[in-house]
């Protein structure tokens, strides 16, 4: 038995490398893209610059300041966001058995964004460490409703997506209505929503790290149970798994990961979808491997998206979130158009 959508499973390449080899390869990609991200930018740093900035730091050397104040936080934020989104996407897909589940598509990111906007307007909060709480509330609000509809085993996959799209519409309509009332918030929001890493700061990362760690821990715990759940709810019950508990743990992990990520870098869609999709053939239907690989794929995706967005070729000012949406939307459409995923 497998966790996967039967149709997708049959598509797993016959001789896909095993999870260990794949995770090594993915890790290599992460390291390479992180290194490229550290080196390239408005000012190219040499490897010796980076080495001396790490081990022989001089706060008056511009190259060192660029490295520790700008590049390093940026790469860290990208890695954390990619990991969190990759995990959230994989958890959602495994739990709902829907290969199109993604924090952006199911509206969970929009719920977090609504939370952030409300916090800014109502409480005048502009610090991610403080608005993360309302982002979490927004996530809970959306995912409770979406999972109420989609947590069941035999949910029609299209209907889950429609429920997510409808919830996203609710959040977007509320956000836009609020923004019309408050022009100052509109000015903050319109840049924040693009999901850029320009504002990544060490303090923000530090403040949000506990949430991400808690989410990750819950995800690891849940992944063991999800394997049992994949055998069907009766078998899982026979194995001593408490289904409701698994679902709640998984949902909580998703909420923590998404809420903290949105607070850190803004709502970035499609990363979860793509990374869980890329990781699936290598995971051999094991939820823990699927998570791990999906996290690595997510890190690579955001690092590369951020790097591409900074390239002068594309105007130099495209945020990672924009790029992933511009590339991800057509990708999703292509996946359905190919007929692999749109059916029951």
């Amino acid at each position: 038995m497998s966790v996967l959508h039967p149709e997708v499973h049959s598509l797993a390449r016959p001789r896909a490398p095993g999870p260990v080899a794949a995770s090594m390869a993915f890790l290599g990609l992460v390291v390479a893209s992180a290194a490229a991200s550290l080196i390239f930018g408005y000012r190219t740093l040499s490897l010796s610059d980076i080495g001396s900035a790490l081990f022989d730091h001089d706060p008056f050397l511009p190259a060192h300041v660029v490295f520790t104040e700008i590049r390093l936080p940026r790469v860290l934020a990208a890695c954390l966001a990619g990991l969190a989104l990759g995990w959230a996407g994989a958890l959602m897909q495994i739990m709902t058995r829907n290969p199109l589940a993604d924090p952006g598509i199911l509206g969970v990111n929009a719920g977090a964004a609504l939370g952030v906007v409300l916090a800014i307007v109502l409480f005048g909060v502009s610090d991610p460490a403080r608005y993360v709480w309302s982002a979490l509330v927004g996530c809970v609000f959306v995912s409770a409703i979406v999972f109420l509809l989609g947590g069941r085993q035999n949910t029609n996959p299209t209907r889950l997506l429609i429920a997510g799209a409808a919830m996203m519409a609710v959040c977007l309509a509320s956000i836009r209505a609020i923004l019309l009332l408050n022009r100052q918030t509109l000015d903050t929001y319109r840049f924040w929503v693009l999901g850029g890493l320009d504002g990544a700061a060490v303090e923000t990362i530090q403040a949000l790290l506990p949430f991400l760690l808690a989410g990750a821990a819950l995800a690891v715990v849940a992944s063991r149970w999800l394997n049992a759940l994949a055998l069907g709810s009766d078998v899982a019950r026979g194995l001593g798994v408490r289904i409701r508990l698994v679902q709640v743990t998984t949902a909580l992990a998703i909420v923590l990961l998404c809420g903290a990520t949105v607070s850190m870098v803004g709502p970035i869609g499609f990363v979860g979808l793509v990374s869980a999709h890329v990781a699936r053939p290598f995971a051999r239907a094991d939820a823990t491997w699927h998570l791990l690989l999906s996290g690595l794929a997510g890190m690579t995706l955001i690092l590369v998206a951020d790097l591409l967005g900074r390239l002068p070729l594309l105007g130099g000012g495209l945020q990672a979130g924009v790029l992933s949406a511009i590339l991800g939307g057509p990708l999703l459409i292509w996946m359905i158009w190919r007929g692999r995923l749109g059916r029951t």
Partner: protein
Amino acid sequence: MIARTTFASFEIAPRVVLTRALLTGFVLALALTTLRFGTYPIATADLLIFLIRGGDGIAHTLVVEHRLPRLMTALGVGVAFGLAGALFQTMLRNPLASPDWIGFTPGASFGALLAIYATGGNVIPGAVLGTLATAAVVLALAMDQGLNVRKLIVIGIGANLSIAAAADLLLAQVDLMTAADMTKWLVGSLNGRDWADVAVIWVGLAALLPGILAVGFPLKGLMLSDDVARGQGIAVSAMRLLTAGLGVGLVALGVAVAGPLPFVAFLAGPIAKGLEGGTRPALYSAAMVGALVVLAADYVARLVPLVLLPAGVFTALIGAPCLLVLLVIAARRGQI
């Protein structure tokens, strides 16, 4: 139970007739109220005199130049969105499959945004082109031996996400004033609509009316299943495509003059069907419910003075809770 009497080949259910009559009555009453209401209230008798005999003076100008075009636009937009929602929901056999979030309405408002960005105005052609472009892409991709309903929905959702991201990107490229103006077009408003808007929406509705009447009857066959419809001699694929085309046209018209007005299209269908209680597509009632929701939202928008909140804020306020309730009910019943 619905008692039915059969006259010739038509079935007329008293409940349906009553619903339609009541809804029409409510729309007319609300329309009259909005005409009278304002910072300068006008008596009903005066209204009648203006409308029949004409006149001059400030009250006449107010009614004829401001309130009446706004009212007519609201009515037209409500009818357009109500019909569009009911058409899509019936054709796709899913009460949640509203053009609001399967790409068409967002495509239209993105077209409007792009027009503002590129030319500073020309919202109407922008919205129409935006809808047509989105619809062409989504419908073309969702075709395999006829329109694949499930593909249409999921591809529409994908298009919706991309368009939302593109709109966000556009909002960040302009100055704050323009961004606020664009946000208004992402919500929908009826402020300051004039006779030109009335002409656009009503001429458009009149042009689409024959098509809507033509699909109205066979659509009932399509509600059950494709096989039943085929058995009744309905050309299912052609019907679907025609219905989708009409729905897209209605969305384009509505967004072009008022902006997206969230949830009107979504709400009208289920409410109308619930009221009529039948198994037929409640197109007329859906149009009336759409008009009622838009009129009510615009009335409330005018009740709140000074800030000039657009009507779309209030359709969202009405629609979002209804949507949540509907989702939960559907989940309880296991329909979803």
